[in-house]
């Protein structure tokens, strides 16, 4: 891998218009990545999902070179229908279009030569990889007091031109005081066997509200890693919803720093897996100051040969008195080959707190099925009804009704 990554890097340096300073910096990140390699099970956080092995097994040799100079054609058929929205379109890792037609242009600032942050807390060698190869980082700033009228949909698409590639994406968002942003990440891949490495950074100032929905629904053979860093100021609220179902392997990490008083973070997620799929969500909520709140709910439905992992950590600093933290993870195992792993963690250094977590896993309740069947449903219908209700619970947590309905129709959950 080392040779490959070095030659690919040289190739990119030659074709791109990086300044000399950037190249030096990027080289540093590259070396840092080469030193540690892809995370493996030797690292505590990757115990349940050995990325190094997964890449070796599913992709084999990765290539890191992406030609960013040639634009790709935007396929308009992928656009979400029945919802007016702003767009950012990624094709094969290249930003093809940024479109904020529904918004006041002077309230949104888009900056494309932004020098991105190179250090996040609790991150790993994949950040160095991203730093070295992400070609451009857009920063989107919402000005003070501005609420976006329509949601922003970020399309992540690939076409069949690429295979066995590594794609690195990067976005930065700054939400100034009292601003409001809704984003939907929509994954739609035609290419197979790629490793996609996404880093987002959200900086929420006082009273800002962020709602981020990640929808990975379309079945594909890619390996996806996504890291969200969320910094929260006073009174800010962040809501993250993850639907983890499409990719072959996926790991979502959410790192949330509650730095301002009365800030709160909500994370809800659904795993719906089948056929050799292996997905993970890892959350770290850092309660760093008094009166902060976090709530997490993760539910899995696991079919044949699938595996889901939930690692959640609530950290409470000495200063963070009156913290309210809650975590719940549940799993239904439908087949004898399915597997659920959880590591819900509490690390608490303040005494006046209310923190708890719960985790439960098992098969569908036979008594409930019997009840439904005695009322005339067949086995399959009863099963579906139960799973439907079980997952609806998470979807109902979405606070934006427009998007809630969209997600409901996307995953075919009925009320």
């Amino acid at each position: 891998m080392t040779e490959q990554i070095k030659t690919d890097f040289e190739k990119i340096v030659k074709t791109s218009a990086f300044s000399e300073k950037d190249v030096v910096l990027k080289k540093k990140y590259l070396n840092r990545f080469i030193e540690s390699g892809f995370p493996s099970r030797k690292l505590e956080n990757w115990k349940f999902s050995d990325l190094n092995q997964i890449i070796k097994k599913n992709i084999g040799e990765l290539s890191f070179y992406n030609n960013d100079t040639i634009p790709n054609k935007v396929d308009t058929s992928i656009f979400v229908e029945g919802l007016e929205h702003n767009k950012i379109i990624f094709i094969n890792g290249r930003v093809e279009k940024i479109d904020f037609t529904y918004e006041d242009q002077d309230k949104i600032k888009i900056n494309d030569d932004f020098k991105f942050l190179d250090e996040f807390s609790n991150s790993n060698s994949l950040l160095s990889l991203n730093n070295a190869f992400a070609n451009k980082c857009y920063k989107i700033t919402l000005k003070k007091g501005y609420s976006m009228k329509k949601p922003l949909v970020i399309y992540h698409t690939t076409n069949e031109k690429i295979k066995s590639r590594n794609i690195n994406l990067r976005l930065e968002f700054e939400l100034e005081q009292n601003s409001f942003l809704r984003t939907i990440d929509l994954f739609k891949d035609e290419a197979e066997n790629n490793f996609i490495n996404i880093f987002y950074n959200f900086d929420l100032k006082e009273d800002a509200i962020l709602k981020n929905y990640k929808i990975d629904k379309v079945i594909n053979q890619n390996i996806r890693y996504s890291y969200n860093n969320i910094e929260q100021g006073k009174n800010s609220v962040s809501e993250t919803f993850i639907l983890s179902s499409g990719s072959n392997f996926s790991k979502n990490e959410i790192n949330c720093n509650l730095k301002g008083e009365y800030s709160s973070a909500f994370i809800n997620g659904i795993f719906s897996l089948n056929n050799e799929q292996h997905h993970e969500v890892r959350t770290i909520i850092n309660h760093l100051i008094e009166n902060t709140k976090s709530y997490q709910l993760i539910k899995s439905v696991l079919g044949k040969n699938s595996k889901s992992v939930y690692q959640g950590k609530i950290f409470v600093d000495t200063k963070a008195q009156k913290t309210d933290g809650y975590q719940l993870s549940k799993a239904i195992l439908l087949d004898e080959t399915s597997e659920f792993n959880a590591k819900p963690e509490l690390e608490i250094y303040a005494d006046d707190v209310k923190c708890s977590h719960g985790s439960a896993s098992g098969s569908l309740d036979e008594n409930s099925i019997f009840y439904l069947m005695s009322r005339g449903l067949n086995y399959q219908q009863s099963k579906e009804l139960l799973i439907n209700g079980y997952l609806l619970d998470v979807v109902e947590k979405i606070t934006d009704s427009e998007i809630k309905n969209l997600i409901k129709s996307m995953i075919g959950i009925r009320e």
Binding site: D335, E339, A342, P344, L346, I348, V353, H357
Partner: protein, 480 residues
Amino acid sequence: MNTREKDIENLKDYKYGFSTDIENIRAPKGLNEDVIKFISNIKKEPKWMLDFRLKSFKRLQNLKEPDWQKPKYPKIDYQDLYYYSAPKSMSDKPKSLDELDPKLLETYKKLGIPLQEQARLNGIAIDAVFDSVSVATTFKDELTKQGIIFCSMSEAIQKHPDLVKKYLGTVIPTTDHFFATLNSAVFTDGSFVYIPEGVRCPMELSTYFRINASQTGQFERTLIIADKGSYVSYLEGCTAPMRDENQLHAANVELIALDDAEIKYSTVQNWYPGDENGKGGIYNFVTKRGLCKGRNSKISWTQVETGSAITWKYPSCILKGDNSIGEFYSIAITNNHQKADTGTKMIHLGKNTKSKIISKGISAGFSDMTYRGLVDINPKAKNSSNYTQCDSLLMGNKCGAHTVPYIKNKNFNSNIAHEATTSKISEEQLHYCQQRGLNSEEAVGLIVNGFCKEVLQQLPMEFAVEAQKLVGISLEGSVG
């Protein structure tokens, strides 16, 4: 002064902190093959035992000390320790208690451990381990009548080599982690229990461990075998003198339950925790593992951990036999600068296996407490279930409480439920108690005892009373 106050007065300082001035025989300092041969030689061990030790020692050379635990400690220099220390008077083992060095008897009397005949009325058979050797075992005759073997490990190696050979190292193999392997190489003494088929042990068996000599590590090894349909309840207690240095205690405990057998293992651990500034104290790095080998077998661990500078242990159950049951009840209390990283592992291999984990952690002062547990249900363990509850109580904002459970469910017929909470004693509860005339310390004592009740109930009666007091005393001065 009422009794409780008196208790507190007595125990405010670590009451077991005295040391006995007794002549010792020690192995040369350091860890090498010669020391292991010395230990083996002085204990007159057969060749297979020496081979077992040397094999472990060889393996140890390739092992690294683990460092993933939460409480960090300064590096231990394993060459700067004595691996064998015994009272000189024990070199020819006394035939009866009357021949025992009076100083030793005095020590145990101070500790409140009744070794002498007249004090044996309370019906607990005791094996007392002093530094590296077992000094006395009581009630031997009565137990022998029923075919029960309860003796020191060294004696068992001499008298029952077949049993020892058959079971030693089957639950904790010589190829295990660093501290377990270290123990396999240099273990000195400990208890050996064998309960024959169908026998229900008529009394509680108990071992009392004491570290006396300085610069020594205690490496005891306990092996308990419950044959088909038998039952035994075993208690363990520990103390050590106050010293400025940190002393290492790395024991191995192996339990084996065959078909329909039940083993109940209770520990009240009260090693010297170090002074208020965290100086000195015992490093308690113990490997305890039980194997439910037969069908319908049951192993239950109960522990009250109040002592030690650092406690780092995970009493585990391997539920291999179908329908076997594993239980773990724990109270861990840390105060001042104590640190604990404790919990359990429940490994479900057989069908219809059940496990239950109740863990209560209390941290006060500047201490740090971690519950770390593993529940692993294998694909073949159909219809298994686990229930875990771990609660933590924090007193003051200088201490920490952490919960790190690992949950692995690989069987769709099995259920795992896990719950954990962390909180402090609520003002309302305190107010309620105080309103009814209790002072704040009594109120806290009452609430804490209520918090721990589920676990205390599991202890044998004599121990429960002591443990309850210990809980109150360990938290002295942490309120207010």
